[in-house]
C-alpha cells in the first residue's frame, strides 16, 4: 500500500540542511509510490519550500510564527501537530539532528507510536520497508521494523543519498497558520562555537586530532586542512580531556558518531571507544608516529610519521592538485 509521508525540513543559517534532502529520499522509499509532503516550521521559511520540491517532495506546508524563530520543543510540537492532524500521514521522517533528536520522541509519545531513531539504511519499500540502525555506537547493527500504526523514523545525516536536484519540479506550497502559545522555555542566548559553517555530523570530510596534537595551537594545521577540503574538525577524548579543544568536537562512544566520506585521524591512537565513533566512515586515513597504533587496523591508508610534518605537506599537495 502506498503511504502519505511527511518530512520535517530543517534550516540552518537560512538554508536547508542536507539531511532534509536525505530525509525526503527516505520518505520517497517509505511512501512506496505515495505522497511526500515537506513541512517547514520557522519565522521565515516560505522561501525554502521550493528547494524541498526540487529534491523530491510533492508539496510543502509551511508554518510561520515569530515564536518559531528559535527551536523549542513546545513551539515546534504545537506547529508540527497542527500539520499532522490536518494531513493524517501514515509515516513521518525527521533528520537525526539536535532538533530531530529533541522533538521526535515528544511527538512519537504524543501519538503513542514507535520511533526508529538514527536510521542509516532503508531496505525494501512501502509496507515492506525495514530499517537498519547502528547500535553500540556502530559496533553492531540492528534491523528494525514497525509493528503497526504510524511509522516514525529519524535518519542519520550523510548516509541516505538524496535524490538528484530537479529545478523543473513543481508542487503546491501552502501556509498553515498556527497560534503558538505557552512556551515553557525561553532561549536567552545562543553562542555559536563551531568555527566554520560545516557541521561535524554532516561533514563529508572530518580531520580529527588526538593527544598527538599536543596543544590547542596544534589543531591549527588540522583546521587549515579541514577548511581546504570543506570539512570539519573533530577530536578524540584524549585531546578533549587534555583541554586542547572543546568537548563538542569529541568523536567516539561518548561524543559524536560520524560517517564522513573521508576521515583523517591525526595523532590518534585508536582506542576502542574512539573507533566506535568513526569506524563506519567510508575512507579512513591514519597519521601516527607509532606504527603499532590501533588506528592503522581500521585505516584504508596509513602514514607512519609526525603529523606536524605530514599535515602541512598534505595541504601543499592538495593545493597543487586543486590549482591544476
Amino acid at each position: 500500500m502506498s503511504k502519505k509521508v511527511i518530512v520535517l525540513g530543517e534550516a540552518r543559517e537560512g538554508a536547508l540542511r542536507n539531511v532534509s534532502f536525505e530525509a525526503i529520499a527516505a520518505a520517497k522509499k517509505i511512501s512506496g509510490g505515495g505522497e511526500v509532503v515537506g513541512v517547514l516550521l520557522g519565522d521565515a521559511v516560505q522561501s525554502l519550500a521550493e528547494e524541498m520540491i526540487h529534491y523530491g517532495a510533492d508539496r510543502v506546508i509551511t508554518v510561520e510564527h515569530p515564536h518559531l524563530k528559535l527551536y523549542t520543543s513546545d513551539g515546534f510540537s504545537q506547529a508540527f501537530m497542527a500539520v499532522f492532524e490536518k494531513e493524517q500521514p501514515e509515516a513521518v521522517v525527521f533528520g537525526h539532528t539536535a532538533l530531530g533528536k529533541d522533538l521526535s520522541p515528544k511527538i512519537a509519545s504524543k501519538l503513542a507510536s514507535g520511533l526508529i531513531s538514527d536510521v542509516t539504511t532503508i531496505e525494501g519499500e512501502g509496507d515492506d520497508a525495514v530499517f537498519i540502525r547502528p547500535i553500540f555506537s556502530g559496533k553492531a547493527f540492528e534491523k528494525v521494523k514497525n509493528k503497526e500504526g504510524l511509522l516514525f523514523i529519524t535518519v542519520r545525516p550523510n548516509n541516505i543519498a538524496p535524490l538528484s536536484h530537479d529545478a523543473s519540479r513543481t508542487g503546491d506550497v501552502a501556509a498553515v497558520s498556527v497560534d503558538v502559545t505557552n512556551l515553557r522555555t525561553i532561549i536567552s542566548e545562543v553562542i555559536r562555537k563551531s568555527t566554520d559553517g560545516v557541521d561535524l555530523s554532516e561533514a563529508k570530510v572530518v580531520v580529527a586530532g588526538g593527544r598527538g596534537v599536543k596543544s590547542a595551537e596544534g589543531f591549527e594545521p588540522l583546521q587549515e586542512l579541514a577548511n581546504l577540503l570543506g570539512g570539519a574538525i573533530g577530536a578524540s577524548r584524549g585531546a578533549c580531556d587534555a583541554d586542547y579543544c572543546d568537548y563538542s568536537l569529541q568523536i567516539g562512544q561518548t561524543g559524536k558518531v560520524v560517517t564522513p566520506d573521508l576521515y583523517i585521524a591525526a595523532g590518534i591512537s585508536g582506542a576502542i571507544q574512539h573507533m566506535a565513533g568513526m569506524s563506519n566512515s567510508k575512507v579512513i586515513v591514519a597519521i601516527n608516529k607509532d606504527s603499532e597504533a590501533n588506528i592503522f587496523k581500521v585505516a584504508d591508508y596509513g602514514i607512519v610519521g609526525d603529523l606536524f610534518d605530514v599535515i602541512p605537506m598534505m595541504i601543499e599537495e592538495i593545493k597543487k592538485i586543486k590549482t591544476n
Binding site: 520511533l115 571507544q273 585505516a299
Partner: protein
C-alpha cells in the same frame, strides 16, 4: 526537592561486541552505568546537596541491574528502584520503557528528573523526552550546565557544538551531555552505606500495568556485526613521497577529494 534519576545498565565501553544465536552475547562482559547517566546521577547529588531533598535512582531490567543501582547509591543517591521486567516482557522498545517509568513516576510529584541524553547501547535517546511528555512536564536535552534558584532554572545546552542558554522552571526533566560535571567515584564509606540504603523492587503488576499496555511498537528482526574491514595499506618510503602517494590515492582510487 524531590529528584529522580533514570539509569540504564550498559556494556562497558571497552567491551568488544559478539553475537551468539542472533543476540548480543553478554557472557563474561563487564557492565557499567551508562556513562551519560553517571553525569545525571552526579548532577542530582549536587542539586540535592545545595537544595535539600532526596535523590531516587530508577532502572528497568533484571536482577543484574541491582549492581548498578548500588553503585549509584554508593555515589550518594538516597534510594533506588528496580522495575524488574525479566519475567513479564521479552520484547521492549523505547515506548515500553517510557510507559513503565512514567507510570511509576506519575504520582511521585518529582521536581526534577535527570537522565543521560543517550544510552551507549541502543543509542536512541528517546526515553527521557518520552517520559516528560507522558508526565506532561517540560524537558531540556543535552545540558552542560544547570542552575536552580527556587523553581527558576537556568540551563546551558549543547546544540551540535553551539550552546544555548535557556530559562525555564520546575518541574522539569533534563538529559545530561558530556561536560555537565565530573562524576565522582564511590568512596569506601559510600559503598558501605549503600548496602543499607533502600532498594525497592517492583514488577509490572505493582504498577497496575498489563503486558498489552506496554507492548513494543517496533521489532528488532536481526542483529549483525559490521563487515570486517580489510587491512588497509600503510604507505612506505620518504614522508614527502608518502604524502604525494596518499593525496594521489585519495583523488584517483578513493575519489574522496
Amino acid at each position: 526537592m524531590n529528584i529522580y534519576v533514570l539509569v540504564k545498565r550498559t556494556f562497558d565501553t571497552e567491551e568488544k561486541i559478539t553475537i551468539t544465536n542472533g543476540k548480543i552475547a553478554e557472557d563474561g562482559a563487564e557492565f557499567i552505568i551508562n556513562p551519560y547517566d553517571e553525569y545525571a546521577i552526579e548532577e542530582a547529588i549536587q542539586v540535592r546537596d545545595a537544595n535539600d531533598g532526596e535523590v531516587t535512582v530508577i532502572t528497568i531490567g533484571g536482577e543484574d541491574a541491582e549492581k548498578q543501582l548500588r553503585t549509584a547509591l554508593a555515589m550518594g543517591a538516597d534510594k533506588a528502584v528496580l522495575i524488574n521486567t525479566e519475567d513479564d516482557l521479552d520484547e521492549m522498545d523505547e515506548f515500553t520503557s517510557a510507559k513503565i517509568i512514567a507510570e511509576y513516576l506519575k504520582d511521585k510529584e518529582a521536581d526534577l528528573i535527570l537522565a543521560g541524553n543517550v544510552a551507549i547501547d541502543g543509542g536512541s535517546g528517546q526515553v527521557g523526552p518520552r517520559v516528560a511528555e507522558l508526565l506532561g512536564i517540560n524537558y531540556v536535552t543535552t545540558i552542560t550546565n544547570l542552575e536552580i534558584d527556587g523553581t527558576s532554572v537556568k540551563i546551558i545546552r549543547d546544540v551540535e557544538g553551539d550552546s544555548e542558554t535557556i530559562e525555564t522552571s520546575l518541574p522539569l526533566l533534563v538529559t545530561a551531555q558530556q561536560g555537565l560535571n565530573e562524576p565522582r567515584y564511590p568512596s569506601l564509606p559510600g559503598i558501605m552505606k549503600a548496602k543499607k540504603k533502600p532498594l525497592e523492587e517492583l514488577e509490572l503488576d505493582d504498577l497496575d500495568l498489563e503486558e498489552d499496555d506496554v507492548e513494543a511498537k517496533t521489532e528488532t528482526i536481526e542483529i549483525y556485526l559490521p563487515p570486517q574491514k580489510a587491512a588497509g595499506r600503510v604507505l612506505e618510503g620518504d614522508i614527502p613521497d608518502q604524502v604525494k602517494e596518499l593525496v594521489n590515492l585519495l583523488k584517483t582510487e578513493a575519489k574522496v577529494i
